[in-house]
């Protein structure tokens, strides 16, 4: 081997090794940084990410994965919009964020100062589809809005398959919807504003009341036969497992994929540990914890319940609509206008 060849071979080896070394160093740096931080300050609604039970399991799994002994300090937080507003204010005032990791939807994360991370370089299990918004956010769970129903009142062929099935006179006065018109704006993205408005004007005659997503006991009690649309199928599934006569399903003609994003605020107190936790939650172990405690997971992570569910539904012919943070941001004003219009119709105004 000539000297030139030796040098060439060395260069190739260096080029192959360097990225790995850089990644390994970065991961090491993160772990070292997390060790120095010594704790994670976390806050979100107890109905998100498995609540207190989820937290305990995350703490164990996280420390085991990274060989750390960090303490998770969790405080129950307010609803997501209020929390997002809180973090934005804290950043503007130069205060540390009240959570090291924020969970929310597109509109919540969009106006927040966030830390950008080279996720795919540092964490091999994180792939490009799991990342959005210039490496600032990760899709932690996929939500599939549909309807929640009382499995004693709505049985067999009566279970709606398509959205317009809920207009059946049988359900007049027995359906609930949400005061914030959950998911109808997304329906308008599929159907168009005109068709959705026409549908809502008929649908509102079926609706006798407005309840929040997650109030499954009101469906189980028979106060309402159905909630259309709900925010996700995770909540009715959890209620069903607890023994409630409740179930959830998606409409064949209105498949939607919406996401909860997880992100490290730029003013997080413990950014290294937070980055590691975000990555852990996208691992199979992290996703298993989320499914066990919250009945939710990301369809982008192989082998999760949600990836199986989405695949099954696609086989049934359901076409899912999904959108990125940027899609939502581009059309934010239009979405707000439509949502307010739909809220008014549902409220009977």
């Amino acid at each position: 081997m000539t000297r030139a060849n030796k040098l060439g071979l060395l260069l190739i080896i260096v080029l192959m090794i360097v990225p790995i070394v850089v990644s390994a160093q970065t991961l090491t740096q993160l772990v070292e940084g997390a060790k120095k931080e010594g704790q994670l300050i976390l806050s979100w609604g107890t109905g998100t990410m498995g609540g207190f039970e989820g937290l305990q399991m995350m703490e164990k799994g996280f420390n085991k994965t990274y060989g750390l002994n960090l303490q998770f300090k969790f405080t129950p937080g307010p609803a997501m919009p209020q929390f997002a507003s809180r973090i934005i204010q804290e950043a503007k005032a130069g205060q540390p964020a009240s959570t090291d990791l924020f969970v929310g939807s597109e509109n919540h994360v969009a106006r927040m100062p966030l830390k950008s991370v080279e996720w795919t370089k540092i964490f091999p299990h994180i792939t490009a589809p799991m990342i959005d918004f210039d490496n600032k956010v990760l899709i932690v769970t996929t939500r599939t809005p549909g309807f929640t129903y009382n499995s004693k009142m709505v049985v067999g062929n009566d279970i709606p398959q398509r959205v317009e099935d809920v207009l059946n006179p049988k359900w007049k006065g027995k359906i609930a919807s949400t005061p914030y018109a959950a998911s109808f704006d997304r329906l308008a993205m599929m159907w168009g504003e005109e068709k959705t408005t026409a549908f809502l004007q008929k649908f509102v005659k079926q609706v006798s009341g407005l309840i929040r997503c997650g109030e499954d006991e009101r469906i189980a009690s028979g106060e309402f036969a159905m909630l259309v649309f709900n925010c996700d199928l995770a909540s009715p599934q959890e209620a069903k497992e607890k023994g409630g006569p409740v179930d959830g399903q998606i409409f064949k003609d209105a498949g939607m994929l919406s996401y909860w994003y997880i992100t490290v605020p730029a003013n997080a107190r413990n950014p290294n540990a937070a980055t590691l936790l975000a990555a852990f939650l996208l691992s199979k172990d992290g996703q298993d914890i989320l499914y066990k405690t919250d009945k939710s997971s990301s369809h982008w992570v192989k082998g999760t319940q949600m990836s199986k569910f989405v695949a099954e539904q696609e086989k049934r012919g359901v076409k899912f609509l999904s959108y990125s943070v940027m899609d939502v941001l581009k059309n934010a004003e239009e979405h707000t206008r439509i949502r307010l219009k739909f809220q008014k119709i549902l409220a009977g105004n």
Partner: protein, 566 residues
């Protein structure tokens, strides 16, 4: 009057943050974006508010709901207060205990419970009545304004009772005796003597309850929304908390401003009454010896029948529902099938470490907030009723305003002040101190109503005589006014401590870490997250934690009655 200006200065210092917060709220009503974003001014929130026909429908709903709430709460509170303080009805300690414990039950359980009892489709009582009498449709519907007012009024009857009971305690029975000597029966004496003499207390309680009704959230959210009945609280809530977007604090500020105007209008009548407060002075220098009306055995039976019915529907039923909910994985009406699912599952999963931290913070709040509030409010009430200052009623108007503003908005204004206006001088954000300050401010209305009522019943001739004798104001306060006000002050202190325990909405904004987490915030967090049953379990644990405070309340109550008898 030596020392007068010290009291006026304390009053002014206490009311200064109230004015500041209210100005922030009014300012907020003109913001385009959220707090912390560059301020762009707009009138669109007011335009939207006044141009939207649903605003007026919501206003009518809110007034209907608040009025029913007042009516229901007074129907139970006035007779109970009269029985406890003006008669020899037995079991007074038990009555106090039941009223107090009942006030600690969160309204969201009561609301769900009443839905299960009186909903036209699933209500157990409705179902039974339809079955027994062969009715075609359900006779009761809880999802109406009257139904909502019934549930809210029952819940607030404890607060109304506490506000009214001190007035009955301080009344001179000689006036009632004189009425009876002149041939008036017990009911005519009540109508022409007792009720008019305690009118300031009753009106103050009515206005106070009415304003709670204006901003009450749980009952309108759970019962009202199930029949698409919006009140201002639910209207604001969904403006502040849309599902997908950032909150619209501008609209919330505009609606709050409207509520402040409404509260000022309400207060006007009350202020007029205060101007003539000397008419209601029943504690004079000529003799003060409260005596009880003897009811006799028949009267005792009637009294306890009334109290029994009241405690059954307002206190016992919600408590049973709370226990029931805590033992189930899934909230459902009582049935044999449900009974088989009973377990302690919800208690095992509670965040015990966090609850201990919450207990510590809540205890600090329960000791500091009432003490601070009483010091400030004593000074304010004295300034309003005794100082003789030309603008003294302005002090009372300002003291009442925090109550008119939805507490959520008050807390948002406080956070804004801590983050953007005071951050260079004080590190308040995220601390327990900011919670203490905001809770104290929010209690000023309550405490001034109670102290005003009692101070109005003490004739100025008592303190005037002391001033003539050369005593400075602080000595007059210590030797004359404080001993006479003691029952009211003890009630107010203990009740404010209990209100600290109940406080949820402000905590959701002010609590940002484990450093200032409170016990109710943990319960609220569980409920908001959909864990209704675990929230019930947490609430029972919190009730157990509250037992020493309730015992304290009873001991103090008994002791002050004992002192009085001497």
């Amino acid at each position: 009057m030596r020392g007068r200006w010290l009291f006026v200065a304390i009053s002014a210092a206490g009311l200064l943050p109230v004015v500041a917060f209210l100005l922030i709220i009014l300012w907020m009503g003109f913001w385009q974006g959220s707090p912390g974003e560059p301020v762009v001014y707009t009138l669109k929130h007011y335009q939207t508010l006044f141009a939207d026909p649903s605003t007026y429908r919501t206003l009518v709903n809110t007034i209907g709901f608040a009025s029913t709430t007042v009516l229901v709460s007074l129907v139970f509170a006035i007779p109970t207060a009269w029985l406890v303080e003006r008669t020899d009805v037995p079991g007074k300690n038990l009555i106090f205990a039941l009223v107090t414990i009942g006030a600690l039950l969160p309204t969201f359980f009561t609301s769900m419970g009443w839905v299960f009892l009186l909903h036209p489709r699933i209500g157990i009582i409705n179902k039974l009545l339809i079955e027994w009498f062969g009715l075609e449709q359900a006779p009761f519907n809880i999802a109406t304004l009257i139904g909502m007012g019934w549930v809210e009024g029952l819940g607030l009857s404890s607060i109304a009772f506490i506000m009214i009971v001190a007035s009955y305690r301080a009344m001179d029975p000689a006036l009632e005796e004189a009425a009876r000597v002149h041939g008036l029966g017990i009911f005519r004496t009540l109508r022409y003597v007792t009720l008019p003499l305690t009118l300031p207390g009753i009106v103050a309680a009515a206005i106070y309850i009415f304003t709670i009704g204006l901003s009450a959230f749980e009952v309108p959210a759970i019962i009202g929304m199930s029949n698409k009945i919006f009140t201002f609280s639910t209207y604001i809530f969904y403006k502040i908390q849309p599902l997908e977007e950032l909150p619209s604090y501008g609209m919330a500020g505009a609606v709050s401003s409207l509520l402040v105007v409404l509260a000022l209008l309400l207060s006007w009548g009350y202020f007029r009454m205060l101007r003539f407060s000397h008419r209601y002075a029943v504690v004079t220098g000529k003799g003060y010896r409260p005596r009880r009306v003897e009811l006799g055995a028949k009267g005792w039976f009637c009294a306890w029948f009334f109290l029994g019915c009241y405690f059954l529907v307002a206190k016992f039923l919600p408590f049973v529902l709370l226990v029931w909910a805590s033992l189930l994985k899934f909230f459902q009406p009582p049935s044999w099938a449900a009974l088989e699912q009973v377990s302690l599952y919800n208690f095992y999963g509670l965040p015990w470490n966090l609850m201990l931290q919450g207990a510590r913070n809540t205890l600090i709040l329960m000791l500091s907030v009432p003490t601070l509030a009483l010091i400030l409010c004593l000074a304010i009430s004295w300034t309003v009723l005794r100082s003789g200052l030309r603008w003294r009623l302005t002090f009372d108007a300002v003291a009442f305003l925090p109550h008119a503003v939805p507490q959520l908005i008050l807390a948002i204004a406080a956070v804004f002040a801590a983050l953007f206006l005071l951050h260079n001088a004080f590190s308040l954000y995220g601390s327990l101190a900011i919670v203490i300050i905001v809770y104290t401010i929010s209690r000023i209305s309550f405490a001034t109503r109670i102290i005003n009522n009692s101070l109005a019943q003490i004739h100025p001739e008592l303190d005037e005589a002391a001033f003539v004798g050369g005593l400075p104001l602080w000595q007059v306060m210590r030797k004359i006014l404080l001993p006479l006000l003691k029952p009211a002050l003890v009630y107010a202190w203990l009740w404010m401590a209990l209100l600290c325990y109940r406080e949820l909405t402000m905590a959701s904004v002010l609590v940002t870490s484990q450093e200032n987490v409170t016990l109710p915030m943990i319960v609220w967090g569980l409920w908001l997250g959909g864990s209704l049953n675990q929230a019930a379990a947490a609430n029972l644990v919190v009730l157990a934690f509250m037992l020493p405070a309730v015992t304290l309340y009873l001991i103090f109550g008994r002791r002050s009655r004992f002192t009085e008898a001497l």
